[in-house]
Amino acid sequence: MSNSSKKQFWWNNAQYRSLFFQVLLIAAVAGFFWFIGSNTLQNLEKRGISTGFGFLSQKSGFGILQSLIPFSDSDSFGRTFVVGLLNTLLVSVIGVFFATIIGFTMGVARLSNNWLIAKIATVYVEMFRNIPLLLQIFFWYFAVLRTLPSPRESWSAGGVAFLNIRGLYLPQPLFGDGFAFVGWTFLLAIIATFCIKRWAKKRQEETGTQFKIWQTAFGLIVLLPVLVFFAVGSPLSWDLPSLKGFNFRGGMTIIPELTALVTALSIYTATFIAEAVRSGIMAVNSGQTEAASALGLHRSKVLKLVVIPQALRVIIPQLTSQYLNLVKNSSLATAIGYPDLVAVFAGTTLNQTGQAIEIIAMTMGVYLFISLTISAFMNWYNNKTMLVER
């Protein structure tokens, strides 16, 4: 360079350069949003669409197949959002429940000493993990549930539950007057058990005396509510479904869309949970188990006090991200017409109102909120259980 080497150009200064890059970046992002924003305003004006959330209070005018809260076509679009959201949550909760059970069973089974059981679990995991979820949902819905018999020839389980092409019919519990007492007793028993457990742990740390916490918990949480239930005069009856004409009346109906969705979601997600469980258990060094046995711990205590706490550190983060995937995948409901958030709100409501931006933003917002909440929990858990290396 011809100028004196003493002179430093600003682009050789790391601080200025990074400032320059960042200003450039902000300008680019701002320009991008300005481009999109101005186009949007123009396009909306041309199409005559007004922006804003006023449409939420308009009358919806369509019915929804399944709703946890009362809904009719004279309710507002805002209410369709709530109905869809509740249906999404319902599928997610049931799906998480079954996926966890199947996943843990299969994960442990893959590590079983029994060769056959381990192989069956492996085949299960490898088979369902490598087939797209949407295909599995379609399979259960169109190929299995559509071939079920008509209501007149439904399969019956002891005359109280029926399965046919219209859905699964179960007896519905009808809670009588005094049932609230049972619920409150149950709740109080859980709180009491929690307190007793803390007290027992403290006492054990101080004096070494153990307390029979499991027996106490069983007595409080199971036996006490049962006693209360009979004491207030068994205020529970069942509304049984029965065939009236061409269809079943009474009882609880689980629509086939829900059954197909929950089956596919839990089977698919369970394969990933099984892998998480397996990797978690395998991540615990075998020296840990041996050392625990050398200390004279009983086999069940080895599992409870040594293996599981360490395995959970690996399992929980993967497990939460699988739960998250399940919630997000429940949006595939729209493909078979189960009225979840995407089907009802981003589907029907969007078509009726044309408010694309607001509706897609609200739908995405819900999923974002759920994901960010769960990942915040995960970060908190990771920090709490992180190994502190010395």
Binding site: S18, F21, Q22, L25, I26, V29, I36, N39, T40, Q42, N43, L44, K46, S112, N113, N114, W115, L116, I117, I120, E126, M127, R129, N130, I131, P132, L133, L134, L135, F138, F139, F142, A143, K328, N329, S331, L332, T334, A335, V342, A346, L350, A356, I357, I360, T363, M364, Y367, L368, S371, L372, S375
Partner: protein, 367 residues
């Protein structure tokens, strides 16, 4: 009198019950009572499912024919798949132009095999050709409009071909964006970092369906009216954004696994940021994350089925549409099993390949 035996007596053979088939059975299947019960339950399950499934799929199935009447036995009717296989593979692509699709896919197959197999010469040249020249060739082969090839509109594309196009383009475009985002997320510049974090977390937090809805409904609103984007391209844009966020997290994992000493050594040599990244860090990090990249590709490959919801005809959608043919009613199970086996074979072999790579690439970085 003491008797000293100086030569050891020969070892007794192990009891019959602990070696050979019996020993294996006892150890692995009937070690305890509970174990035996589980084994019996397992055997019962296999007895109940496997023979009937095999019978249905192979032994009593119909393989040849051209119409529904040829399916006389009680097993599967593979004739349904055989009759429509061209549609399942190519969608509504004109049959006179099939050679273009086949050429294009064979070419990329050869190129990828060249890059994956060890001990092939001139990998750099081939890689450059794959990245820069092949896309242009593929565009003209698929779409046409030059060199005397007639134009085939994208709404005629479908079947397995569309699935592969969506997955590979989504993947190859998402990788560079993902690398940039990952570098951004680990950057010391606060604004670059926060923009990357927001971008990544946003796309990872929403389901792919809403992304596809967004790209199909909202892109036309976001862009000037004269920009006409067709449905396939809109879906691709959504997929690329979505995939790049996942890719960024995979690459970030690789970047984090590189020991700090590597960065410091590069700095000590006086290398600039970009030189450090492109010559020191990324080559090591990308090598580490190849299995992760393959895994996200598998996920994407399975997720491409969702485009049927916005009206594109991928493999699943074409098969699903074929069920509605009044001449072929009632063969949905065959159709689903066909699609499932295509996906299963591809995904399973890819995941095996990724596991193999993981073992091979484990050269001591991972701690």
């Amino acid at each position: 009198m003491t008797v000293l035996i100086t030569t050891p007596t020969p070892d007794q053979p192990p009891p019959v019950s602990s070696v050979g088939v019996i020993g294996w059975l006892r150890k692995n299947l009937f070690a305890s009572v509970t174990n035996s019960v589980f084994t019996l339950i397992g055997l019962f399950l296999i007895y109940k499912t496997v023979p009937s499934a095999l019978n249905w799929a192979f032994f009593t199935a119909d393989w040849v024919g051209s119409a529904k009447g040829d399916c006389s036995s009680e097993g599967a009717c593979w004739v349904f798949v055989a009759v429509r296989i061209k549609q399942f593979l190519f969608g509504f692509y004109p049959s006179a132009e099939y050679w273009r699709v086949i050429t294009s896919f064979s070419l990329v197959g050869v190129l990828i095999a060249w890059l994956l197999i060890e001990r092939t010469p001139k990998k750099g040249m081939v890689a450059a050709f794959t990245v820069f020249c092949y896309p242009i060739i593929a565009y003209f082969l698929f779409y046409g409009g030059a060199f005397g090839l007639p134009v085939v509109e994208t709404h005629k594309w479908g079947g397995l071909m569309l699935t592969l196009i969506l997955a590979t383009i989504g993947m190859f475009c998402a990788l560079p964006i993902g690398i940039v985002l990952a570098l951004g997320r680990r950057s010391s510049m606060p604004i670059a970092k926060s923009i990357s974090v927001v971008f990544i977390e946003f796309w990872r937090g929403v389901p792919l369906i809403t992304v596809l809805f967004m790209s199909s409904v909202m892109l036309p609103i976001f862009l000037p009216e004269q920009w006409q984007i067709d449905k396939l391209l809109r879906a691709l844009i959504g997929i690329i954004f979505f995939q790049s966020a996942y890719m960024a997290e995979v690459v970030r994992g690789g970047l984090q696994a590189i020991p700090k000493g590597q960065y410091e050594a590069a700095e000590a040599l006086g290398l600039s940021y970009w030189k450090t990244m492109s010559f020191i860090v990324l080559p090591q990090a990308l090598k580490l994350v190849i299995p992760g990249i393959v895994n996200t590709f598998i996920a994407l490959f399975k997720d491409t089925t969702l485009v049927l919801i916005i009206g594109l005809f991928d493999l699943l959608a074409v098969v699903q549409a074929a069920f509605a043919d009044p001449e072929w009613l009632g063969f949905s199970v065959e159709g689903y099993v066909f699609v499932a086996s295509v996906y299963w074979v591809s995904c399973f072999s890819m995941s095996r390949y990724s596991q193999h790579l993981e073992k091979k690439l484990h050269t001591g970085h991972a701690r």
